[in-house]
Amino acid sequence: MDLQPISGVPALIAITAKNLLIFGGVLIVVAYATLAERRVSAFIQDRRGPNRVGPFGLFQPLADGLKNILKEETLPATASRFFFVLAPLLVLVPSLVTFAVIPIAAPLPTPWGVVDMIIADVPIGILYVLAFSSLAVYGVVLGGWASNNKYAFLGGLRASAQMVSYEVALGLSIIAVLMMTGNVTLAEMVWQQQQLGMWFAFPLSLAFILFVVSAFAETNRLPFDMPEAESELVTGYHTEYSAMKFSAFMISEFGHMVTASALMATLFLGGWDLPGTWDNAFWYQGQLIGGFAQDGSVILAQPTWWKTLLTLGGFAAKTGFFLLLYIWIRWTLPRFRYDQVMALGWKVMLPTALAYIMLVGGTILVLDELGVAWGFGYGLALTAVSGVATFAFIFFIDRGRTITGAAAGAAQKREIKTIPQVSSRPAIAEHAAVGD
């Protein structure tokens, strides 16, 4: 079989087909993520959730979409019309185009050449992801500001502060991965995890934790949904939006979730990689290789359609796991206070990420100096170091003071010392006993 990358007219057709299939697939996943959220939340609360439209409620997203199209579009009289209409688009587009650089499966062999299962294998990879995920904040801020509504405005302000803060921790947690791979393309990140023999979630466990937490904050999901805190801000930045514009915000939120889940899967759970070396494939000096032999010569990859399908299933399973985690956490944890979010971002996540970069960098340096080969042993050594770091981080954060928040923690401590609260407790207990 000719293992050359696809070119010419078939390449154009393949690119078009990939665009349609992947973006169509992402939109379908987004639609069903809304259903999954409602169903899972219902299950968690011992309810059943929407189960009326179609079998098991599977057509509910269609009904929701139809409803949103038919509803009245409202435009607040004092809103800035141009930016009010622009904002949903500005949120929607970045959340979806980010998916373009994520490889979703092993390369697919066709009679005309090998098709990479990625829309755009751009050389800047993860930088493209970071650039577009930071663009999303403009839509949120614009939406809140253009609405000319104080709640929407507050939501927009919170969103900007929160997303800018956590972008720092997000970016810094990725740096550990970049140091491991030595490249920013996501295809190479998958390849390096295949070569390491283990997924980066283990050798970079602390970065994984920091990335997951930052990604939750970046996507404005609970417990970090300050921008749309219902009990305080109505629904925050999209308070004034209705019908399809509201739906655009909704789709973008779930689009962000899907993209962030796919990113977590790609960066830390090996992307489309499945255990074993049978599915490894990477473009190396114009050849599609499956690995290196002992003497350094390349072993050619054997791409087949069933490998592509299996790895696609693996990628979908990993992404689905993170989506479920998003929903599961949303319906478990209460919302942070705003100062707690900021304190966690700047006083815990940022220093930890910086220290961890030093730690990982030092460990990589030492391992390279010792001449340890890039492989399972290398991974195990890093796993041990990261495990200690993760344990120390959890031990430190698990003292109760860390989440209490910036000024509130200090004030609360003083208060407890001055007010004799403790002595009144036995009296209450006595009273209770009399009542019984």
Partner: protein
């Protein structure tokens, strides 16, 4: 009756742990997520068991030959606190009284059940029924034929000699 008091202790800041509390919360929600017993009642398919003394829309009992049991004595429109029963009585050749017009406005009715209590011949009853939706307001004035055609069970009266019973 004693009131039991549950004293809630605010956790000390030094002894609380967000992470452990979060993880135990996740475990709890996961248990509920996979738990197959759900509290939701699938309403149109699963019907509620109405209480035997549930008071809903009225039922007029009839004789075996199809005539209403009502003797047009006029007690129910008199006792009705909502004044929702309209009764015009008549008399046939044998001197039997019967209702010419018997209408109950179910919108005005407060479902107190006093019409059933007061009825000397056990003709008018309130019923164990609640699905009364209609498209027009006029349809909520039930005439005699409609009252006789109601096929839901009628309400069980409270028995003063057995006050604890259902």
């Amino acid at each position: 009756m004693t009131i039991s008091v549950k004293v809630m202790h605010r956790p000390e800041p030094e002894s609380t742990s967000y992470l452990r509390a979060a993880l135990s919360g996740m475990a709890l929600t996961f248990k509920h997520m996979v738990n197959p017993t759900k509290v939701t009642q699938q309403y149109p398919e699963e019907q509620t068991d109405l209480h035997p003394r549930w008071r809903g829309t009225h039922v007029m009992e009839r004789h075996a030959d199809g005539r209403p049991k009502c003797v047009a004595c006029g007690l129910c429109p008199t006792v009705c606190p909502a004044n929702c029963i309209r009764l015009v009585g008549g008399e046939d050749d044998q001197g039997n009284r019967y209702p010419i017009v018997y209408e109950i406005d179910e919108f005005r009715c407060i479902f107190c059940g006093m019409c059933q209590e007061v009825c000397p011949v056990e003709a008018i009853h309130v019923g164990r029924h609640f699905e009364n939706a209609e498209y027009t307001r006029e349809r909520f004035v039930y005439d005699l034929d409609r009252l006789m055609d109601q096929d839901h069970p009628s309400t069980l009266l409270w028995d003063p000699s057995d006050p604890q019973s259902e």
